[in-house]
Amino acid sequence: MRTISVTEITDQIKEMCIEANHFLSGDMKKALDDAVGTEVAPLGRQILEQLQENLKIAGEDSIPICQDTGMAVVFLEVGQEIHFEGGSIEDAVNEGVRRGYVDGYLRKSVVKDPLIRENTRDNTPAIIHYSIVPGDRVRITVAPKGFGSENMSRVFMLKPADGIEGVKNAILTAVKDAGPNACPPMVVGVGIGGTFEKCALMAKQALTRPVDQRSEIPYVRELEEELLEKINRTGIGPGGLGGSTTAMAVNINTYATHIAGLPVAVNICCHVNRHAVRVI
């Protein structure tokens, strides 16, 4: 048994909210640099260069990469040997988000009720996903999610007979419908299988996988590569203004499903695919 004070979780989450909104992970930066070299459209290249400049300014001048600093999505993978002390873990996470967004000059984009729509003014509550894992460590992922791309995400409850072609069509449909609204070049997170909610969660988790890391399952890896190529042939391009860089990666996660179903979720993320990861 290992004891961890919830105040440590609060402190970490605060820092991670600020870090994720000012610095992209190395794999995202490299994907953007690579895209500048391969983009065929002159305006597309100009936009990609502006995105590189934007990242530089964000880091050097402490200005969030995007004004939509997102709703804070937090994954907590908790080792089963851990005992938390000092209060509720949920309150501790939300306190970290509150401090990060208030002290870090991040935008408060959360309304308390979906229809009454009054801003909570501190960006809480977070969306928290817990999982219990072996061991005595806590792995925290903070992934602030902007809603320009979130709004273009889809769940398709396909039939088994739709097969892999149905899956490809669903993903391409979601990407084409998103077009310029989702701030391309995008990262496309996909969940295939499970249930209605499981496939959506897998799609979200897939976005936190580095964009240069392909699936370990051979057919899924092939599917990721084929879809990336197909998406980059749509012509949507950087900013949706035409070109060959519409997506930087397609990350697919899969899970067992029911004999009657083939759920597919497509969670689209813009080029500001933010995630900070820490293990304590």
Binding site: G44, I63, Q67, S109, N119, N181, G240
Partner: protein, 183 residues
């Protein structure tokens, strides 16, 4: 083609801009996004005055992150324009000359753009830190209680935008995608 244009936008300037032009805007523009549009729309329904005159003005669909001390504004990139499609034709018919956002517009908005000789510009989505450098002053002029969604008057200098839909109804999103499509 690169162009340098003053805002508010004159009828002549608006009609001179072509879909695909890269434009640097200098002058005064106003921010408004979802909640401010809803309020303005409801004010019009009640027969009340709007907090700003639409004539020749440009609205930037944007809600900034908070400014650090000594700076005019925080991160300041465009939000998705289609969420304002319900309200935009009414504002265009009242004289609104330009809109800055990102993403596709409805046919009703395109028709109102053509009818009024207006322009829809895109700023680069997700480049809020870079775009903030072209904003030299910011002041809340209405709906302060809406926080980031309040209406702000911005002074901009060489603010970079691209003409997506011009006064003739040409749409860069549709045309450019066709040009680069390899399916």
């Amino acid at each position: 083609m690169d162009k340098y244009i003053n805002v508010p936008l004159s009828d002549e300037d608006a009609r001179s801009l072509k879909s695909g032009d890269y434009v640097y805007l200098t002058g005064t523009i106003y921010t408004a996004r979802d909640a401010a549009h809803k309020r303005m729309y409801e004010a019009l329904e009640r027969g009340e005055e709007l907090p700003l005159d639409m004539k020749h003005n440009v609205i930037y669909y944007m809600g900034p992150s908070p400014a650090r001390e000594g700076r005019p504004i925080g991160s300041a990139g465009p939000t998705t324009a289609s969420r304002m499609d319900k309200y935009a034709p009414t504002l265009l018919d009242l004289g609104l000359k330009g809109m800055i956002g990102k993403g596709k517009r409805s046919q009703a908005v395109k028709d109102a753009i053509v009818r009024n000789g207006a322009v829809y510009f895109a700023a680069v989505g997700g480049a809020g830190a870079l775009l903030s450098k072209s904003i030299i002053a910011s002041e809340v002029i209405a709906y302060d209680d809406l926080g980031t969604e309040a209406i702000r008057r911005l002074k901009v200098k060489d603010f970079p935008v691209i003409v997506v839909i011009d006064a003739k109804g040409e749409d860069l999103y549709a045309n450019a995608i066709k040009e680069y499509c390899r399916e």
